[in-house]
């Protein structure tokens, strides 16, 4: 059987519900038969009760709206202006909107920028022709031609006519007949 000293050490934890079943039972059994320990229990309960009721009564006098205004004043006074602006933006573009708006926006921009990679012939006009930036035919005649229907750039090299006649049985035309 536990002595009163040991029981009184545990009364606080028993009142707080922090003891296991076996220990709780042993405390309860002791208190049923020990007036001194019961007095200690009542003292602790009284202290708790007074504190609780007193502070609760005080807290219930604190009205919400004036309290909230006090918090808002602190927020307005102590938050730098740029953070307040950011808060305004955040309130407008809430997470639920931004969660899809931002990636959707990025996806749209990417799609526009890379559209011509996926749709051939999207860029019409002169960009679809190859453009000749420079040419050096080492003294030979050369013709630059553009075939509009197929959008083809042709660089045609004219060979020396005499040389051509010497090598061919039935010489092909040395130049295309555009």
């Amino acid at each position: 059987m536990r002595d009163c000293e040991s029981i009184r050490e545990s009364i606080g934890r028993w009142l707080d519900g922090e003891l296991d079943t076996a220990e709780s039972e042993s405390i309860r059994a002791h208190l049923a038969s020990c007036e001194e320990c019961r007095k200690a229990q009542q003292q602790l309960e009284s202290i708790d009760q007074i504190l609780k009721t007193t502070l609760l009564a005080e807290a219930q006098q604190i009205e919400f709206l004036p309290f909230w205004r006090g918090v808002q004043v602190r927020i307005a006074q102590k938050t730098p202006w740029h953070e307040q602006a950011l808060e305004g933006l955040r309130a407008t573009f809430t997470l639920s909107r931004a969660a899809w708006l931002v990636p959707a926006g990025i996806a749209v921009v990417l799609a526009i920028l890379s559209l011509d990679s996926y749709i051939p012939g999207l860029r019409e006009g002169r960009n679809s022709f190859a453009s000749v930036e420079s040419i050096d035919a080492y003294g030979r005649n050369v013709a630059l031609l553009r075939e509009n229907e197929s959008k083809t750039t042709v660089i045609w090299l004219y060979e020396d006519q005499e040389e051509e006649n010497a090598t061919a049985d039935e010489p092909a035309k040395s130049a295309p007949a555009f």
């Binding site: 504190l51 007193t54 309290f67 909230w68 955040r90």
Partner: protein
């Protein structure tokens, strides 16, 4: 259906001020109670309670739900109150309303005068006894008595082990019992 604290926190993190207001309305009295118990001065308690919610507002985006919202808010409140007490000890202010006054101002139901005097003495001595506790001991008493928080929750708020909470509570209660045994 009422939103949970965590739902409200997430909405706050997106910039929804109305959700933050709802959280304040849920906890402002509880926070005030704990802080008043620690500071035993109404003006200081109101200031610290409001400062608690201001700090929570500034830090709300970093709250990731590792603990419950109320554990988090009490942690801020208790730390602010303990800092305030330490500042007051270093720079004593002129006497203002103390817990004596707080306890005295409580509305009382009609009772016989003898009991009335007895209660007033008890309250005065209770206030004095609490004031003699260290801030850490006051904190465990307030969180347990007022909020009924478990030792584990109190430990999370104060950043100490359950064992430390238990021994501090035991010490604080013993001190109060010793000082008030004549009145209880």
């Amino acid at each position: 259906m009422e939103l949970s604290d965590w739902d409200l926190v997430q909405k706050c993190q997106s910039g929804d001020m109305a959700s933050f207001q709802e959280l304040v309305s849920r906890y402002h009295q509880k926070v005030y109670m704990v802080v008043l118990g620690l500071l035993h001065n109404r003006d200081d308690a109101l200031e610290v309670a409001q400062e608690t919610f201001f700090r929570a507002y500034r830090k709300i985006r970093s709250f990731e739900g590792g603990s419950s919202f109320y554990t988090w808010i009490y942690r801020i409140a208790v730390n602010l109150a303990i800092d305030q007490q330490r500042r007051q000890k270093r720079n004593p202010l002129e006497f203002r309303e103390t817990m004596d006054g707080v306890l005295e101002a409580q509305e009382e139901t009609a009772r016989d005068p003898f009991a009335d005097v007895h209660d007033r003495e008890l309250r005065e001595n209770l206030a004095r006894a609490i004031n003699e506790l260290t801030p850490e001991h006051k904190a465990v008493i307030m969180l347990r008595t007022i909020e009924g928080l478990s030792y584990k929750e109190i430990g999370e708020i104060l950043g100490c082990s359950e064992g430390t909470v238990m021994s501090r509570l035991h010490y604080a209660r013993k001190k109060l019992q010793d000082k008030l045994s004549a009145f209880l």
